[in-house]
Structures are given as C-alpha cells and as structure tokens.
C-alpha cells in the first residue's frame, strides 16, 4: 500500500533557491517544499540569517520524487552544485499515493 520513493533535501542560500527549484522542475520533479532556516554552521562558519540584504539567509528544499528523477538530480550534479548548495542528501522513503510523485 505504500510505494518506494526518494526524499532529496538540499540546504542552499535563499537568494539561489530558485535556481535549485528550477532545476528540479526541469528534471521532472512533481513538486518541492521550501522551509526557512534559523542558523547553520558549515565550512564557512556560522551563518545566521536576518541581515537586511538577506544574503545570509538559507533555506531547506525538500523534494519527494521517483528513483528516475533522483538519478537525474545526481547526474545533474554539476549544474546543481553550480547553485552552491551546502548539503544535498537523499533518503529512501515510502509514500502513500504513487501517482503524485
């Protein structure tokens, strides 16, 4: 009654989020969800959003998709990494409605 899918999670700068979601759209993802980020740490040190220009804000993008689209995302890594995401992680998941993804 559930179906195997992939869950892709990407942390990326808010100002470049549209590049990532455009890419997901083009690769055939049926949708995505953007969540706000309060703060983070990575190679560039601590990032805390809220400066007035917004350039220090990050977002999390979640995309549930089939294995094929996930493959395409992995293959498009050059283009994806061009948007300089901080993290891309992919998890196996089950979904209820196969026809949606």
């Amino acid at each position: 009654m559930t179906h195997q899918r992939k869950r892709i999670e990407i942390v990326v700068e808010a100002v470049r989020a549209a590049e990532v979601t455009d890419l997901l759209d083009r690769l055939g993802a049926t949708g995505w969800t953007q969540l706000p980020v309060l703060a983070g740490r990575g190679r560039q040190g601590v990032r805390r959003g809220g400066d007035l220009s917004g350039v220090l804000d990050n977002v999390v993008i979640i995309c549930i998709c089939g294995a094929t689209v996930a493959e395409r995302v992995i293959e498009a890594r050059e283009e994806l990494l061009g948007a300089r995401p901080a993290i891309v992680n992919i998890t196996d998941c089950q979904v209820l409605r196969a026809e949606h993804f």
Partner: protein
C-alpha cells in the same frame, strides 16, 4: 560628562546601546521582521519627505548638478577602493570588486541619522537629497562588475545582462525610495501635512529602534564573520569611508550645496551599502565572499560612520563655525 554626552543624538546612543549589549552578550534581540519593517519605513519616510520638500517653490535649484555628481561619485569611488584592496590586502579579484561596489554605493540609515542630526541642530538641507541618495545606490554595482571582469580571463563569471539590469535598476531600496519620493512630490504640501505624523513625528523614534538593532547586528556580524578578518581589511573599512567622505565633501562644495547639503553629500559618499549591493553581488559575483563584504559594511564601516563620520563631516562642512 553628562553635558558632553547630551550632545550625542539619541539614535546614536541607541546604536551604542545595541553595540554594547551585543558586545557583552546580553540576551537582547530585535525580531527580524521589525528590523526589516523599520528599514522599509525609513525609506518610505525619507522618500516622502524629500519629495514633498522638492515640491516647494524654488526647491529644485541645484538638483541636476547634485544628481549628476552623485552618480559620478558612485561610479568612481569603487576604483580607489578596489586599488586599496588589491594592493593592501590579499583579497581575490572578485571579492575585492564586490567590496568596492559597497563603498561606491550608499547606506540609507547613515543618511537618515545624519539628516536627523542636522534637523536637531537646526541646519537646513536641500530637499532633494533623498533623490541623490537613491541615484547613488546602484552605479557602483556596474563598476564593481567591470572590475571583476577586467583581467578576469575566461574564468570570469558569465554576466547575465538582463538579470543584472534588473538588479541594478529594480532593486528594492531604489524602487521604494524613488517611488516614495515621487509620491511625496505629487502629493505636495497637502499630502505632506496629512502624512507628517507618520513620516516626520515618528521618524526619530523609529530611527532609535532601528539603530538599536543595527548595533546588535554589527556585533553579531563581527562575531560570525569578523574572526578571520585581517587587520588590513579592518583598516580598509575605516580608511575608505574617510576617502569617500572627503571626496563627497569636496564635490558637494564644488557644486555649491548648502552647508547641510555638503555634510549630507560627504556622509553619502563615505557610507557603504548593506542592503542593495550585497544582494546584487550575491547574484552577480557568486564566488565573492559574502561574509567579508557584509561584515566590512555592517560591522566596521557602518559603526565608524555613525560614531565618527557623521560628526566629522558635519563639522568639516562648516556647521557651527
């Protein structure tokens, strides 16, 4: 002491309060939405007041000279900035170009603080200065991009011209300032009177709250991005406002502005953008280090301008002499 301190305008004292509270890590914070709202409010109020002032008879005298001079300064100031950075620090070309763009452009709140101080001192200022503020926001972005590309070789970032044009012409602060200025101008004196409780009576208080947050933000940014900041860069963040301000002072006198106008012109030229330019650079020069330009602008030059620059230029412009 009290009598000396009492000469400091309250908004500047609130900046110091925020900075001090941040420095000792007091548990004080301003909601992000409030900071952004106050920033919008200040731009709308500055624009409306300027437009209404320009609508007064005779107020446009000297306008075109000031606009032209402002645009030129914004175009040119990134050049000395870039030279200083490339010769005096180890910044890569792209980051150096991005930083230099910030210093050609201007800071709305530094302008607001200076303008408020002049009002308190009773020194008149040209009503069109908000328009000068608006036109100085963006020319520097173009210079910065040229600097990033010149000699950048094939490796230089591809410039998406349309995206860039939008970024330059249609960035938020410019649209809001110019739009409010135009509305203030069209609404004229009746409009001014109707909106005065909002744009004028509230202004000093809103500026106090906003500068409180800017003080907190400066420390926060200093802490997040200031650790690795080389001394040479910090020096640049202090020297460049002096260079820009001096250039503005001379230019303002040359084009014949009033004493208050000269002071404001120097303040504008000496100030560094922290809204429009970072956003533009992030998109146009993605390999430049955002941590460096945000920190320099928000945490070094902004405090310097608020605490030292404004009084200095007001004095040098000839106020009170």
């Amino acid at each position: 002491m009290s009598s000396f301190l009492s000469l400091i305008p309250p908004p500047v004292m609130f900046f110091a309060l925020g900075f001090g509270a941040g420095a000792v890590r007091a548990e004080l914070s301003v909601p992000e939405a409030l900071a952004r709202s106050l920033s919008l409010y200040l731009m709308v109020a500055i624009g409306l007041k300027g437009g209404a002032a320009l609508a007064m008879p005779g107020a446009s005298e000297g306008l075109w000279a000031a606009l032209t001079a402002g645009i030129l300064l914004s175009f040119l100031l990134p050049l000395p900035a870039f030279l200083l950075l490339r010769l005096g620090t180890k910044l890569d070309r792209e980051t150096a170009a991005a930083v230099s763009g910030h210093y050609g452009s201007v800071s709305v709140v530094t302008f607001a603080a200076a303008s408020g101080t002049l009002v308190t001192l009773g020194v008149p200022q040209e009503g069109f200065m908000p328009a000068v503020l608006a036109v100085m926001e963006t020319p520097a972005i173009l210079t910065a991009l040229l600097l990033a590309r010149l000699g950048g070789g094939g490796d230089a970032p591809k410039l998406n011209a349309r995206k860039l044009a939008r970024e330059v012409l249609l960035n938020g602060p410019v649209v809001l300032l110019m739009g409010s200025f135009l509305i203030g101008y069209l609404a004229g004196e009746p409009g001014r009177r109707q909106l005065a409780p909002f744009t004028e009576a509230l202004f000093p208080g809103a500026l106090c709250l906003f500068l409180l947050e800017m003080g907190l933000m400066a420390v926060r940014q200093l802490r997040a991005g200031g650790k690795g900041l080389p001394v040479a860069l910090i020096g640049f963040g202090i020297l460049m406002p002096l260079i820009g301000g001096a250039a503005g002072l001379v230019t303002g006198q040359f084009i014949g502005l009033s004493t208050g106008g000269v002071a404001l012109f120097a303040v504008l030229a000496g100030s560094a953008s922290y809204i429009a330019v970072p956003a533009a650079m992030r998109l146009a020069l993605p390999r430049a280090d955002a941590g460096i330009y945000v920190t320099l602008s928000v945490a070094i030059s902004f405090p310097f301008n608020i605490l030292v620059g404004i009084p200095l230029w007001i004095r040098l412009a000839g106020v009170g002499t």
